[in-house]
């Protein structure tokens, strides 16, 4: 596979780069992980040997950076189970559009 513009895929480099962040997100699949994240997010993140850059990206809900650092959408989406955000908002954030324009211009939704 050669690179496809604007299209991150989970290849070797992304897998290795994002492994710790993805493992952190996988922990949110369990009620104990979600409770720990909610109780003290920073302490929860500290369990996973993340870099400061990764911690900042997660804590500021910077989806574009999380994915740029190797986070996989299906995994980091679990953050939205503890801190609700719509998947279309995550999409809009990555594109750099406001939500309404994203729905209209990318997804062709009227209203």
């Amino acid at each position: 596979m050669t690179e496809i513009p604007e299209t991150p895929i989970l290849d070797r480099a992304h897998q290795l780069r994002g492994y710790r962040m993805n493992k952190m997100a996988m922990g949110l699949s369990r009620p104990e992980g979600r409770a720990a994240f909610l109780a003290d997010e920073r302490a929860y993140l500290d369990r996973f040997d993340l870099t400061e850059e990764e911690i900042t990206a997660v804590m500021s809900r910077d989806w574009r950076t999380m994915i740029g650092l190797g986070g996989n959408l299906f995994l980091i989406l679990k953050i939205s189970a503890v801190d609700p955000v719509r998947i279309t908002e995550i999409g809009a954030h990555q594109v750099g559009m406001d939500h309404e324009s994203f729905l209209r211009d990318r997804l062709g939704k009227k209203e």
Binding site: T7, L10, L28, S29, V82
Partner: protein, 280 residues
């Protein structure tokens, strides 16, 4: 001998399950989508399949990146819904067809496919949503047993499209050689066009989706010959998972009859397609 009553293709977007959970089925946004499945539900009622072989992928819910099987076959007696972050969904567990699963694993290995053999696993929206779309959500038990086939379509290298088509051909022969009188239906799930990651997020390709819904019936060998790259370019980073429909198609005869076809875009961020095929 067992028989194949047909093949079903469908998207498996998690928002579909969430829409049902929140009682949004008949809202203006969702009603046209769900109504498109009514003829398929009628077909399923008439065909009364005993076993559904469901080809799908786990989305890092039951499986993580620590171990990534390219192909895996569920051989369990039962599959419970997995916790995807919001707690397991309130739907009944799926009964397995373990005897067939073991027959399938034997048959695949003898035909040089070597799947991981899974005895205990939970299933995510990739299996749940297609079952709810074609069977409706039952009060206490599903009227059909399931055999999950897990395909890695997330961690590259993902398998080649041609390989999935050939897996389907082997699956079809496994069903036809199974000593039983069960009626089988094969589900290919995922797609159609969507992209959730990167600055191309929100990419949709309805023209290609509609073409795919024709070609999967009429020109499957051509679709099987595409590169993975071409799938990602045409259907988006996450939409490339539509290659799992090739397993379903490969299990059918070269000529098929299209009983029903439906397209709706977008369901959440995805071009949502459905097809009902029978052997000609």
């Amino acid at each position: 001998m067992a028989t194949i009553v047909g093949g079903l293709g469908t998207s498996h977007v998690p928002s579909i399950g969430a829409a049902l959970d929140k009682g949004l089925r008949d809202t203006p946004e969702w009603k046209p989508f769900f109504d498109g499945y009514l003829p398929a539900r009628e077909w399923v009622r008439e065909q009364r399949p005993d076993v559904a072989v469901v080809v799908f992928n786990d989305h890092f819910n039951a499986l993580f990146l620590d171990r990534v099987p390219t192909f895996a076959v569920g051989c369990a007696a039962e599959y419970h819904p997995v916790d995807e972050g919001w707690g397991p969904r309130a739907i009944p567990p799926f009964a397995g067809a373990a005897d067939f699963s073991w027959h399938l694993v034997d048959h695949l290995v003898e035909n040089r496919f070597d799947p991981e053999i899974i005895q205990e696993i939970r299933v995510d929206h990739g299996l749940q949503v297609p079952m709810e779309l074609f069977w409706g959500r039952p009060a206490d038990a599903w009227p059909v047993k399931v055999v999950p086939i897990f395909v890695n379509v997330l961690q590259y290298p993902i398998p080649l499209p041609i390989r999935l088509y050939e897996l389907g051909q082997a699956l079809g022969r496994a069903i036809e050689s199974y000593d039983g009188d069960e009626r089988f239906v094969v589900l290919g799930t995922g797609g159609l066009s969507h992209q959730l990651q990167g600055s191309r997020a929100g990419f949709l390709n309805p023209a290609a989706d509609r073409r795919f819904l024709v070609d999967i019936a009429e020109n499957p060998a051509e679709l099987a010959s595409w590169s993975r790259q071409k799938y990602v370019e045409t259907f988006g980073g996450e939409g490339a998972e539509v290659i799992m429909w090739l397993v379903m198609r490969g299990a059918l005869t070269p000529e098929v009859v299209v009983r029903h076809r439906h397209y709706f875009s977008p369901a959440s961020m995805t071009g949502a397609g459905m097809i009902v095929l029978e052997n000609a």
